[in-house]
C-alpha cells in the first residue's frame, strides 16, 4: 500500500479542521456554511478510506523516524466507526445546532476529533498513542460543555475535564515506567522487552485505570452520565459510540504490548466487565431522564465488550475477541441511533433554542404516533440494546456468551450466566421507555408538532437499517471484525 494513503487518512481531517472555523468567522467574506465544509472534508476522507480498504491485505507498519504507525484490522475497525458516526453526526447537527453560538467551532472540533481518533487508531508508539488520546480528549471538552449557559452543562464539563486529566496523568506515569524499564516506546519492541520486567505490572495498572476513565470502568465512571446527558445529542452519540471505543482500542494496544507480564489482562477485563454490566444496569434502573438512562446503559454495554475481550484474551480463542469487537461496533450503531432518535424528539419538541433541555421518559409519550419512524427506530435500538433477537445487539452478545460457554471453565460459565441474566434485567428499564413511546397522551399538549428535517431523519433511518441488516446477517460486519480480531490475536501473541 502506498504510504500516502493512511497518512492522508489522518492528515486530511486535521488539515481541514480549521476550515469550518475560518469559514464561520468570515461568513461575510466566504459564503459557505461550516457544516458543508466539514462534510466535504469528510467526503474526501471517506474516499481515502475506501481506497485503503481496497488495497488492504495485511497489516502495514509505517515508520516516521522513530515513531511507528501501524495500519491493521483494529485501526480499520475504529476508523470505520469514527467515520460513520462522525459523518452522521455532522449531517444530523445541521438543523440540530442551527443558530447556536459557536457552531463553527463545533464543526471544526468534530473534524479534529475525527482526525485525532483515526490517528489514535493507527498509533503504534506508546507515547504517540497518548498524545493522540489527549488530543481527542481536549477536542471533546468544549463539545461536552457546549451549552455553556446551562449550569448543568458546565458542571458536566468540569467533571469530565478533571477526571480525564487525572486519567491521562496516570497514563503518562505508566509510560514513564515503561520507558524506564525497557528504554523504548515502540509497542512491538516493548512486547519483546517486557519479559522479566519489574515495573511493568505497575505500569499495566496505571494504564488500566488511566484509559479506564475514558472507558467508564466502574469506580471511574462517574463523569459519564453527566457528560452524555448534557452534551448535544450528536455529541452524545459520538461520545458513546466512538470515543469510548477509542479508549478501548488504546487500552487493548497497550495491554497487548504488556501481554507478557504476570498481570492477567483477561481476568481483569472479565472482572471489570461483569462489574460494569451489573452496576450500569442497576444505575439505569431508576432513571427518569432518557439520556441519562442511555448513558448508564452504555456502561453496561461496555461491560459486555470487556467480558468478550477478556474471555478471548484469557483463553486465547478468537471467538471471544471477535464477539467483543463485534459488540463494540454494534453498540456504536445502537447507541448512536438511540441518541440521535432521542435528540430528534428534543428537536421536535422545540426545546433546543436555549440549549438542550432534559427529556424525561414521560416526555416521549406520543412520539410513535407523531413521528412513527423515530418511534420505531428508537424501539428497535432499545430492544437491540436489551438483547432481543434477532437484532444486532443480540447477535454480538450471543457470540460473547457462546465464546464464554465454549471455554468450558466453570467460573466463566457463571460469569456468562450472570451476564445473560443481566440482559434480562436490562429490559426492566428499556421496556418502560418503549411503553411511553407508544402511549398516546402527549405530554406536550399545545406544542405545535415540528416537522423533522431530512438531515435529522436520515441518520436515524440509516443507522436503523444498518442495525437490522446486521441482525439478520451478522456476517455483514465480518470484513471489519475479522482482521481486527486477527490483529489483536497477533498482538497478544496468539496467547
Amino acid at each position: 500500500m502506498n504510504a500516502a494513503v493512511p497518512v492522508s487518512l489522518i492528515i486530511v481531517p486535521l488539515a481541514a479542521s480549521p476550515l469550518p472555523y475560518l469559514v464561520g468567522r468570515w461568513s461575510r467574506l466566504i459564503p459557505l456554511s461550516p457544516r458543508m465544509v466539514a462534510l466535504t472534508a469528510l467526503a474526501v476522507v471517506w474516499a481515502v478510506f475506501a481506497l485503503m480498504m481496497r488495497d488492504y491485505v495485511a497489516p502495514v507498519t509505517l515508520q516516521f523516524e522513530v515513531v511507528a504507525f501501524q495500519v491493521d484490522g483494529l485501526s480499520l475497525l475504529l476508523a470505520a466507526l469514527v467515520l460513520a458516526l462522525g459523518t452522521l453526526a455532522v449531517i444530523y447537527s445541521g438543523p440540530y445546532m442551527a443558530g447556536q453560538t459557536g457552531e463553527e467551532k463545533y464543526y471544526a472540533l468534530l473534524l479534529a476529533l475525527t482526525g485525532a481518533m483515526i490517528g489514535l487508531a493507527c498509533a503504534a508508539d506508546l507515547f504517540n498513542l497518548w498524545v493522540w488520546f489527549e488530543a481527542m480528549v481536549i477536542c471533546t471538552y468544549l463539545l461536552v460543555a457546549f451549552y455553556r449557559r446551562r449550569p448543568t452543562s458546565l458542571e458536566a464539563g468540569v467533571k469530565y475535564l478533571v477526571q480525564s486529566a487525572v486519567g491521562s496523568a496516570l497514563v503518562v506515569l505508566g509510560i514513564a515506567l515503561v520507558l524506564a524499564q525497557t528504554g523504548t516506546l515502540d509497542l512491538a519492541a516493548i512486547r519483546q522487552a517486557a519479559g522479566d520486567a519489574t515495573l511493568m505490572p505497575a505500569a499495566g495498572a496505571l494504564f488500566l485505570i488511566g484509559f479506564g476513565v475514558k472507558l467508564a470502568i466502574v469506580p471511574l465512571h462517574t463523569w459519564l452520565p453527566d457528560a452524555y446527558a448534557e452534551s448535544p445529542s450528536g455529541i452524545s452519540a459520538v461520545l458513546s459510540g466512538v470515543v469510548t471505543k477509542a479508549g478501548l482500542v488504546a487500552l487493548l494496544r497497550v495491554a497487548a504490548a504488556l501481554a507478557g507480564i504476570t498481570l492477567s489482562w483477561g481476568m481483569l477485563l472479565m472482572a471489570f466487565g461483569t462489574l460494569n454490566i451489573f452496576v450500569g444496569n442497576l444505575l439505569a434502573l431508576r432513571q427518569t431522564q432518557i439520556k441519562r438512562l442511555l448513558a448508564y446503559s452504555s456502561m453496561s454495554q461496555i461491560g459486555y465488550m470487556l467480558l468478550g475481550l477478556g474471555i478471548g484474551i484469557y483463553t486465547g480463542e478468537s471467538s471471544g475477541i471477535q464477539g467483543g469487537l463485534f459488540h463494540a461496533l454494534n453498540h456504536g450503531l445502537m447507541k448512536g441511533l438511540a441518541f440521535f432518535a432521542v435528540g430528534a424528539v428534543l428537536y421536535a419538541l422545540g426545546r433546543l433554542s436555549g440549549g438542550e433541555h432534559t427529556l424525561g421518559i414521560g416526555d416521549l409519550r406520543g412520539t410513535a404516533r407523531r413521528y412513527p419512524l423515530i418511534g420505531l427506530a428508537l424501539t428497535l435500538a432499545l430492544l437491540s440494546l436489551g438483547g432481543v433477537p434477532p437484532l444486532a445487539g443480540f447477535m454480538s452478545k450471543w457470540q460473547i456468551f457462546v465464546a464464554g460457554v465454549g471455554t468450558g471453565t466453570g467460573w466463566i460459565d457463571a460469569l456468562v450466566i450472570f451476564a445473560a441474566l443481566n440482559s434480562v434485567l436490562s429490559l426492566a428499564y428499556y421496556l418502560p421507555v418503549i411503553n411511553a413511546l407508544f402511549q398516546d397522551a402527549s405530554s406536550t399538549a399545545g406544542q405545535p408538532a415540528r416537522r423533522l428535517p431530512v438531515a435529522i431523519v436520515l441518520p436515524v433511518v440509516l443507522l436503523a437499517a444498518a442495525m437490522l441488516v446486521v441482525g439478520l446477517w451478522p456476517g455483514a460486519l465480518t470484513w471489519l471484525t475479522q482482521p481486527a480480531t486477527s490483529a489483536l490475536m497477533a498482538a497478544f501473541g496468539g496467547l
Partner: protein
C-alpha cells in the same frame, strides 16, 4: 540519594499531593492547581525515566509535549472555572453537584 532516586521520590510525592488536593479541595481553581502539581510529578518521572534509559533527550521531548498538553488542559479548566463562577456565582465544587444519581 542519587538524583534519580530524588526525582522518583519527588514524582510520587507530588503526584500524591496533587491527588490529595483533588480529593480535599472544593475551590475549582484550586482543583486546577492540584492537577498542575500532579502533572509536575509526572514530568519529573518522564525525564527521570529518559535519563535512566540513557535517552535524556527522548525524555525531554516527551516532557515538553506533556507540559504543552497540560498547559492546554489548565487553560481550558480555568476557562470553565470562569464560566462556572459566572453561572453559579461560586467556585465551590459542592455547588456543582446538581447532576447526581
Amino acid at each position: 540519594m542519587t538524583i534519580l532516586q530524588v526525582a522518583a521520590a519527588g514524582a510520587l510525592i507530588l503526584l500524591g499531593i496533587g491527588l490529595y488536593g483533588l480529593l480535599a479541595l472544593r475551590n475549582l481553581i484550586k482543583v486546577v492547581i492540584a492537577l498542575q502539581i500532579m502533572v509536575k510529578g509526572v514530568v519529573l518521572a518522564l525525564v527521570a525515566a529518559g535519563s535512566l534509559s540513557g535517552q535524556i533527550n527522548l525524555g525531554q521531548s516527551l516532557a515538553v509535549t506533556l507540559i504543552v498538553a497540560d498547559t492546554v488542559v489548565a487553560v481550558v479548566g480555568l476557562a470553565l472555572a470562569v464560566q462556572v463562577r459566572r453561572r453559579f456565582g461560586s467556585l465551590d465544587v459542592r455547588e456543582l453537584s446538581t447532576l447526581r444519581g
